[in-house]
Structures are given as C-alpha cells and as structure tokens.
Amino acid sequence: MAEQGHEGGIAGHLHYWTFKIDESNPFMQIHLDTMLISIVVAGAMLAFALWLKGKLVDGAPSGAQNFMESVVGFVEDTVSDNFPVHNPLIAPLAFTIFIFIALVNTIDVLPVFLIGNIAHLFGVHHFRPVPTNDLNLPAAMAISVFVLVLYYEFKLKPLHFCKELLFEPFTNLVPVYLKPFVMPINLILKLVEEIAKPLSLSFRLFGNMFAGEVIFLLISFLLLSGGPVGMISGFFVGLGWSIFHLFIGLLQAFIFMILTVVYLSIAHQPVEH
C-alpha cells in the first residue's frame, strides 16, 4: 500500500488514501477512502432497507416508513411528470441517486478533520471522507447514466439516433453535394454534445462538493490560526457554511437525479415525423 507524502496547508488535506497497484500507471490505483465510505453508506442504506422492509405496514404509515414513503412519492411524482412512458427502472434509479448522493454529501458537514483524525489513529495519513469530492464517484454515476441513455436511444429509436448524429442540425441544411463534407463536422459536434452530458453531470457535483470542502478547510484554518477573534468568527462562519453546504448537498443530489430523469426521458421521447 503506497501513501502520498505529507504536505502542509490545504493541499496536504486533499490527498486520498490510495492503494497503488502499479506505480507507473496512474489508472492502476484505488482510493480506499472513497471506496470505504461509499461502501459503508451503501451498506447502511441496504441495512436500513432490509430493516424497513420487515416493518412495512399496509395501513397508515408512521416514523421511518412515513418519511421514506414521502421520499418515494416525491421521486415517483418527479419521474411520472417527466416521463412519457412507464419504465420500472427509472424511478428506483432516480431514488437511489438522490438518497445516495444526499447521504454522502451530508458527511461533508461533519467537522472537517474529524474522520481524518480518526483515520490517523489507525495509521492512515490521508483520508477524504466525502466520496463525492472524488471525481471517480460522480463520474462513475454519470457514465452509468450515460450508458443507460445510449442503451435506450439505440433500443427505442436506433435509426433516429444515428440519423441525428449524422444529419442534425447542420447536414440537413446544406445541398446534397456538400453533405459528405458537413456530415463529419455534424458528427463531431453531436458527439461533443452527447459527451458533455455525463461530463457536466459529474463535474457539477464534484465541483460543488470539492469547493465546499476547500471552503471548510479555509474556515478551519481561520478557526485554528486566527487567535481568539479568528476562533469565534471561524466558528460562526463554519456553522453558517455547514448549514448552507447541507442545502447545497441536497440541491446537488436533486439536480443529479432530475438531470438523470430528463436525459433518460429524452431517450424515451417518441420520434416526431
């Protein structure tokens, strides 16, 4: 197991707990902190699901069931408002995205050094507790959604999708003899448009959460190194930012979910002639 060396300041806290399989290949490494926390959160969600499944009642719900039913109802309403057809996969996918991202984002409001210091007790020098601050998680989810979008595009309207890639919007506007020249340009632009979807999806979440963590680190350094005034002001600024960041985390979870539903909805839209 290889660890990155110690560095001072904010940069020193932005290293992952990394396991390198091949030192020469940067792809051949695993961020153990990201994997660990995401598996723990996923495991907690599964444990909660199994616990709640055994306690579900047909009649008037209460407590956890009541809360989860309101979340399920909200997600189902969001999906049914945006979807032209019924697809039994979409609502559970949107639900999982929303809950999972909201939960991992919420970890960010814990004191910024808390989990890192606990990890230090176990000999781990670098620990990033929020998996969405690692591009790998937002990218993995965005790519999964993108692959699903492509799957439905090719499954439901393969000819239309290929035609769109090659002809819309520019190729159709030029005379026939120019079409072979415009077609590659059209294709490149359409590919950029399509690839921008998962990129924007992942970078939006990652950027927001990463920036939030950096601001937490800045506030913590103000709190720790600014004397009594810095400590007092840092405490209140940190509290305010925690509340705001909690809202940002929920908002980002909602945005990721709603964009997933919208992209998949576009893929399910019937072809207009």
Binding site: F27, M35, S38, A49, E76, I99, N136, A139, A140
Partner: protein, 160 residues
Amino acid sequence: MSIDLTFIGQIIVFLALVYLMKKHLFGPMSELMEARSKKIAEGLAAADAGLDAKARAEAEIAEQLKDARSKAAEIVASAERRAAEIGEEAVNRSRTEAEGIVDAAREEVHAELGRARQALRNEVADIALIAAERVIESELDAKRHAALIDGIVSSGFGHA
C-alpha cells in the same frame, strides 16, 4: 483529481446499490403505496357508489310514497263513492219498501172498506128483508110504514 480503478469500483457499487434498493426498498414500498392508493380509491368509489345508491333509494322511496299516497287517495275516494252509493241504495230500497208497505196497507184498507161495504150492504139487505117481513106481517098504514122503515133503518145503521 484523477480517474482510476476507483471509477470501476464505484460503478460496481452504484449499480449494485440501484439493484438492491429496487429489490429491497423502492419496489416493496412502491407496491405497498400503490396497493394502498388502489384500496383508498376503491373505498372512495364504494363510498360514492353507496351515496349514489342511497340517493337512488331515497328517490325510489319518495316515488313509492307518492304512488302509495295517490293510491290511498283513490281508495278513499272510491270508498267514499261506494259508501254514498250504498247509502243511496239503502235509502232507495227503504223508500221502495215503505211505498210497498203503504201500497199494501192502502190496498188492505180498500179491501177492508170493500168488505165493510159489502157487509153493510148485506146487513142493509137483511134489515130491508126484516123490515119487509115486518111490513108484510103487520099491515101498517103509509105513515106507519114510513115510520117503521125509518126506525128500522136508523136502528140498523146504528148497529152497523
């Protein structure tokens, strides 16, 4: 910030989580909520149907009451008419019977009168015969004849 094997691991975790959440949380809860919504909708529909049935029954009852009242009024009117007819028939019958009784009495009076006259005639005849016998037997003058006959007649009519 780099893409590495964590990316593959996160895809596996994410897809597994979607599958498990669908199977153990979202699926059962969604089915439960759908069943409950269906049950509530059925209950509301049944309540609406019950209200409709109640309204129909009330309308039917009102209609039947109206018919019954109408029939009762007809029966009462018919009974009143029948009672009036029966009364009239009784009066007519009584009147006829009374007239019959009066006629019978009158006939009887006539018959009795006839019989009395006849008896009187017979008696007068008998008296006349008696008077004639006496006239013949006693040879009386005209004055005595007349006085005798008058005496006989007056004494005879006095008995009649």
